[in-house]
Symmetry: C2
Subunit: 341 residues, 2 copies
């Protein structure tokens, strides 16, 4: 993601790995559509893109009276917030941006536009730094010879840099550890096959692609020593919403006595939610299931269920790897302490 | 599958559901290739196809001295047996056919050819009858309002008629029960999406297609009351080899207290194997994972693991539904009793 005023340049993740194609967003609506269509995805990346989308909106509103500016900026923020319901970073980033706007409004709308640009760049810069810290905190968990299972894409494509779960893997690799990463393809959108496999190859990390339904078989054979996944929203008690199928991996890990870690920045933790039950789960287009890269794989007329996320109860989670260290159960206390410190 | 001498006509399952296309096999080698390439699949269907393949071989050998006939017939049987390693019905059918040949050899090779044709037709006829009995034995397990999860394709396409796990579902539907079938798409070859969804639509059974990684989420929500799957080989202790991902479904079912049934004819039970550990697991072409219907979904150069089956230990299985009724734990005793009766 490159902020290149007056445009935001995105790597179009829908085209990967077949084509490395840039998507140029000139308006907040184009950014919104990029988020909705999964051209940009991954909780932290969605937050960043929305922040820059709001900057595009602020620039477009331009010089006008503060009340009108505030009102129109809120409309842009609402439009961006409505693109996807589950990942909390989207709302977190927009709230942070609007707070900055409010703080500067008395200084004039030009100051707000400049301040918003600064804030969006800060969000991106901080995310890269946060990822590095998550990676450092989690890398110790990986030992030479381990098989590490990961899910969906949580790498540089989903964040500002490094990644969350893939950041842990990347830092362990930088530290010279030798281990194998099993990447679940992650149906229906295949973020694992298309994006994680691509990032692993780019980084020279030993990776093996599997279909999601092979995870149990691999664990049964003793090939997996650790599972590490990202998160789209974590409740105050540690319940974690993440890509559909994450819960299945957690149940499998528990049945095989394998530690199951969630790697996530604090910005993904929603302390206002007591538990995961209230996390809204996005249901997406059935065509994502019935068609793969445009090719039909199911008969016309079949009913489809396509939830984009599921919620893993905290009892299945060994630890949450954050930029402030690894939180272990009981999570309600551990997470509260983290936010208080 | 239609025996239409001098050819065997198969519905080419690789093309479904996009195209309903017939594959005409004129030689045992063409039948072998149809099995290897998954044009015909499903443990009972593979056994039947191999039996008819052997008939094509016997007809081609024609009139010759008995020793030479026996030798050449064995070569055809060996070729057919080498097409796929896991499903035991293949070996069972070929053994049964060769026994019939041996019994008739003294009566001349023409008698053998006629006898083999009779035997292959008997295998097909018996499979249809066996499926109906499996369906009747298992249908009682399904109650009005249930959510029934099934895996891979175990229907009319995989057998002579009705199917095994799908036969249970079909008979329950014929009995007027109202329930919903959740069909897992079954990566990598998508037998669930392409074949089971198609059969459910054809039969007017209420079906919902899901990706394999959604099964845990559905169970967590209380939407699944029963899992029923087929089998490729069952050991004497009940350990069951079936399509990759079956073990994952069994672990999930156990974690949610949901009964997990295997529907299978006795011909799939390999009483010579004490446990599932010795069942050979076929590893197939990585392209099945990296390409879907010919379209690449992963970057070139990524390593792939592609086992076609996994083994579900008997401890995860609630019951095995056979043509002689439902066997429940302890399976070693129950299965032995079944074969003795």
């Amino acid at each position: 993601m490159v902020w290149d005023p007056p445009v935001l340049r995105l790597l179009d993740q829908r085209q990967l790995p077949a084509r490395v194609e840039e998507l140029v967003c000139r308006t907040p609506e184009e950014v919104g559509e990029a988020i909705r269509s999964l051209a940009v995805r991954g909780a932290p990346a969605i937050g960043m893109a929305a922040a820059f989308g709001l900057v595009l909106g602020a620039r477009r509103i331009g010089k006008t009276d503060p009340d009108r500016f505030r009102r129109e900026l809120q409309q842009v923020a609402d439009m961006l917030a409505a693109t996807r319901p589950t990942a909390v970073n989207l709302f977190w980033a927009l709230r942070r941006m609007m707070a900055r706007a409010d703080a500067l409004l008395s200084a004039g709308t030009e100051a707000v536009v400049a301040g918003l640009e600064e804030e969006a760049l800060a969000i991106a810069r901080e995310d890269a730094e946060v990822n590095r810290r998550i990676g450092l905190a989690g890398a110790d968990l990986i030992r030479d010879g381990d098989g590490v299972l990961t899910y969906c894409n949580t790498g540089a494509l989903a964040t500002a840099a490094y990644g969350t779960a893939l950041g842990v893997i990347r830092i362990a690799h930088e530290q010279g550890k030798r281990f194998t990463v099993y990447a679940c393809e992650t149906r229906p959108v295949l973020q694992g096959a298309r994006l994680t496999a691509w990032e692993l190859l780019q980084e020279g990390i030993d990776g093996v692609l599997i279909t999601d339904n092979m995870a149990g078989h691999l664990m049964q054979q003793g090939r997996i020593q650790m599972v590490v996944v990202g998160a789209d929203r974590i409740a105050a008690n540690g319940d974690t919403a993440n890509k559909i199928g994450t819960y299945t991996m957690a149940v499998l890990a528990r049945a095989h006595g394998i530690p199951f870690y969630v790697a996530s920045p604090l910005s993904t933790i929603d302390m206002e939610l007591a538990s995961g039950e209230a996390i809204p789960i996005e249901e997406r287009n059935p065509a994502e299931v019935t068609h793969i890269r445009g090719v039909p794989v199911a008969p016309e007329g079949i009913r489809v269920y396509n939830p984009a996320f599921d919620v893993t109860p905290h009892a299945y989670i060994t630890g949450i790897i954050t930029e402030k260290g690894i939180v272990r159960p009981p999570f309600t206390e551990g997470l509260a302490r983290l936010f208080a410190s």
